[in-house]
């Protein structure tokens, strides 16, 4: 499939999801309001828990509000990666469009990738809203941010997370319900990945385990880029680790997904919920 054709399909999926989202008129307005409540909660929590000991455990130049807001806003990229592919399949199974899509000239892998376009764009928008509330009302420090570095971390993070998401979708294709891959990855990542507290406060064995999760590198890199304005050289270890995850997980997930897809075509359960 050539790139122009691929792009057109991604656009078609985006237009579809946008048109569906637009038909629920209030949802977007509520999203903005929800982001405000989230940011305000972190701000007042940070004022309550702020102490010299805590600040020493945080990366240089950051306070707890900035630390927690980045952690909270960017952890969503993992949860969306883990759910976007799953949701696109379950939603299509539920409304009966999966079969109709599968008999078109668009392969399921392309359907998966294109279905994730809208959720990721929406998430990026949500992240911007979170940061905007933080900057406008709660003194979120962005004056030193390395935006290009942050974008690089974000892109390689999405690639690494997408591999995990596709593995999770393969499980869903095969077993339909109860997705332990998703539960395990999101659960372990929220506990060990440093979303709300630095990895350094964990016991040493758990710190080692945290190093096996891409989200740890993603959040570290993002905080360095946004809060400390780290240069590309300083960000390289995080980028390198995330690239390594992507290089291993993307081909592995493709193989697992192809096998799961074939298996469901053999058992006749491809469109079953």
């Amino acid at each position: 499939m050539n790139s122009q054709r691929m792009l057109r399909k991604v656009l078609a999926f985006f237009r579809r999801d946008y048109a569906i989202a637009r038909s629920y008129r209030m949802a977007f307005g509520l999203e903005i309001l929800e982001a405000f409540f989230g940011v305000a909660t972190f701000y007042y929590l940070s004022r309550f828990v702020s102490s010299r000991e805590l600040n020493q455990a945080l990366p240089p130049g950051s306070d707890y509000f900035g630390f927690a807001l980045v952690g909270f806003a960017f952890f969503d990229y993992l949860t969306v990666s883990m759910s976007a592919f799953d949701s696109s399949i379950t939603e299509a199974q539920r409304n009966g469009t999966l079969e109709a899509m599968l008999v078109t000239e668009t392969p399921l892998t392309m359907i998966l990738i294109a279905s994730a376009a809208y959720p990721f764009v929406l998430l990026a928008l949500r992240t911007v809203i979170y940061l905007a509330w933080g900057v406008l009302l709660f003194h979120f420090p962005i004056h030193e941010a390395n935006w290009l570095g942050a974008a690089t971390i974000l892109i390689v993070s999405i690639l690494a997370f997408a591999g995990l998401g596709v593995i999770s979708t393969s499980y869903l294709l095969l077993f339909k319900r109860g997705n332990p891959a998703r539960w395990l990855i999101v659960g372990a990542s929220s506990l060990l990945g440093g979303m709300m507290y630095p990895v350094s406060v964990l016991p040493l064995p758990l710190q080692w385990l945290a190093r096996l999760l891409p989200v740890t590198y993603s959040l570290e890199g993002m905080r360095q880029a946004l809060l400390a304005g780290a240069s590309f050289v300083q960000l390289w270890p995080a980028v390198r680790a995330l690239l390594l995850f992507a290089v291993i997980l993307l081909p592995l997930s493709s193989v697992v997904f192809a096998w799961a897809l074939r298996r469901t075509k053999i058992t006749g359960t491809l469109t079953h919920l």
């Binding site: 399909k9 629920y24 409304n95 009966g96 008999v103 000239e105 053999i266």
Partner: protein, 336 residues
């Protein structure tokens, strides 16, 4: 590739020259009579004293080898087994249960370009399974199937470019999008450019009588309108082969008659589209089909034109012909 059944050796001994590409006539010869088979120099046995047993037919069909290149659809000894669904602890302990439940047992036939073939059989006879194998939604356990010369298992994307598939059993649309937005989306999925898709959409809107609801959200449409939309979707990329699973199921009698006329005149006669459809309505089959494929519990009992089936069984109607060809109670199950 030669199309020969064991019984045809007799003809060769009598000095007839077999047409190497003429499986269709070989099939017709086996099934005793067909309007086109009379033109075949190889065809010599239009008169048979008594219809063969169901077993005879199945055996001889499975011995046929098929002309893979020229036909629009080739189904060659297709076997499909499903795993037996398990629940509870058994399902947990054995998530990949073996494929033991038979759905198709060695089905072989072919459909020529521009031909309309009907699949008849009771629920569970394997009609939908066969259509889904051809639509690349299922993988056959054994055997081969080709659409417009492309193998459904190995050349799925080529196959999908050639076919349109519609099943009346599911809606399969985005309820909150309009009919037009839905069709535009599926046109893009079939690699149609926006301008091409718009033109095709206008054409189909007129052909399928969708002008009154094309800009309405799908959730506001009636069952019949959704069904018409489904058919329009299957045809949006001008497929050369159309697979339809009970195409007139949710249409009222007038709409169903209109639709059958549309299939026959617009698609088959004007554009030469090949159609394979599953149906429970014998009148529909008789009106549309050039060829009838009779399935019973995964086995093919017969494959011939309605006229051929009537002649073979010396029946006045297709219904009587099917009664004579099938086990007792079959027809009641088909029309239920």
């Amino acid at each position: 590739m030669a199309g020969r059944a064991s019984r045809m050796d007799d003809n060769e001994n009598e000095g007839h020259i077999p047409n190497e590409n003429c499986l269709r006539h070989a099939v017709c010869r086996f099934l005793y009579s067909d309007r086109e088979s009379r033109a075949c120099p190889w065809h010599t046995c239009s008169a048979v004293s008594s219809p063969p047993t169901v077993r005879d037919r199945a055996v001889v069909h499975s011995e046929l080898t098929i002309n893979m290149a020229a036909s629009a659809l080739v189904i060659e000894d297709v076997v499909k087994y499903f795993p037996v669904p398990q629940t509870g602890a058994r399902a947990f302990l054995n998530p990949f249960s073996p494929l033991t439940h038979p759905a198709l047992l060695g089905v072989s036939f072919q459909v020529e370009p521009g031909e309309v073939a009907a699949l008849i059989g009771a629920n569970g006879s394997g009609k939908s399974t066969l259509l889904r194998i051809l639509a690349t939604l299922l993988v056959p356990t054994r055997g081969r199937a080709r659409v417009a010369g492309y193998d459904v298992e190995r050349q799925g994307s080529h196959v999908r470019a050639q076919l349109g598939f519609h099943s009346a059993t599911d809606g399969g649309f985005y309820d909150r999008l309009t009919a037009r937005q839905n069709l535009q989306f599926f046109a893009a999925m079939n690699n149609l450019f926006d301008t091409e898709a718009s033109g095709r959409l206008e054409e189909l809107t007129e052909l399928m009588g969708m002008a009154t609801f094309i800009d309405s959200q799908v959730r506001t449409l009636s069952t019949g309108q959704v069904h018409r939309l489904g058919l329009a979707r299957a045809m949006i990329h001008r497929p050369s082969v159309l697979l339809l699973d009970e195409p007139t199921r949710s249409l009222d009698p007038m709409a169903a008659a209109d639709f059958r006329r549309f299939l026959k005149t617009q698609l088959v006669e004007r554009h030469g589209t090949t159609i394979l459809f599953a149906s429970h309505t014998l009148a529909e089959v008789e009106q549309l089909a050039d060829r009838v494929v009779l399935l019973d519990r995964g086995k093919m009992l017969a494959c011939d034109s309605p006229r051929g089936l009537r002649a073979a069984t010396r029946a006045a109607t297709l219904e009587t012909a099917l009664e004579r060809l099938t086990p007792p109670g079959f027809l009641a199950e088909v029309s239920s």
